[in-house]
Amino acid sequence: MTKGEFTDAVRIQQEDFSQDEEIRALQASSKQMGGIATFIGCARDFSEGRKVTQISFDAYGSMALAEMNKLRDEAIVKFALQDARIVHRVGVVGAGEQIVFIAAGAEHRAPALQACNWLIDELKQRVPIWKKEITPQGDSWVTPHP
């Protein structure tokens, strides 16, 4: 398989994504990858006691993509990863659907798991994306917990 078959390692997109495809792309970068950790953030159908039917995302696209690329580069150095991927959806996502995907591949399991944890924490802090919950009682932007 050539690398050209695969999508970019860092993406912001409306469409859903496939873990199988992402993992295949990640694994293609090295056969020395002993551990792959992933995190998938999903849209819950209930939030603070209210039914949520959809979540709508707004993003400062160019900066969000740049920050996500920076995060990937930092994680690869910090945890000696063989590769990492970050995908974030924008637009409207239904309850139960996938929002964000992070994958980190390393020679051993500990750095892969640590990197995955670090990446999702940092993404939430650093990447300019905002979510709005759409409920039968109206819409409201989510205020992140400090």
């Binding site: 953030g41 995302f57 707004d58 993003a59 400062y60 160019s62 900066m63 969000a64 740049a66 974030h88 929002i99 964000v100 999702i120 993404l123 939430k124 802090q125 650093r126 990447v127 300019p128 994306i129 905002w130 979510k131 709005k132 932007w141 989510v142 205020t143 992140p144």
Partner: protein
Amino acid sequence: MIKVLFFGPVAERVGASEVQVPFHAGMRLQDVRAQLQKLHPAAFEIVCFAAVNGKHALDMSLPLAEHSEVVFMSKFSGG
């Protein structure tokens, strides 16, 4: 002109996702903020971060160049 962008809850409170602010020599980030804050006080209540040309700007005294892209942002809630 300085292009100022708003996203998510800030855009909703401003009622627009983009406004233009006339550029003048010696203009700083804080000048743009002060000007817009007067017009949209509710929006600026939730502004926590600013970016200039796609980079986080922590120093409000940062000088701006003509055609800069400035963004005032509330806390991120992606992921």
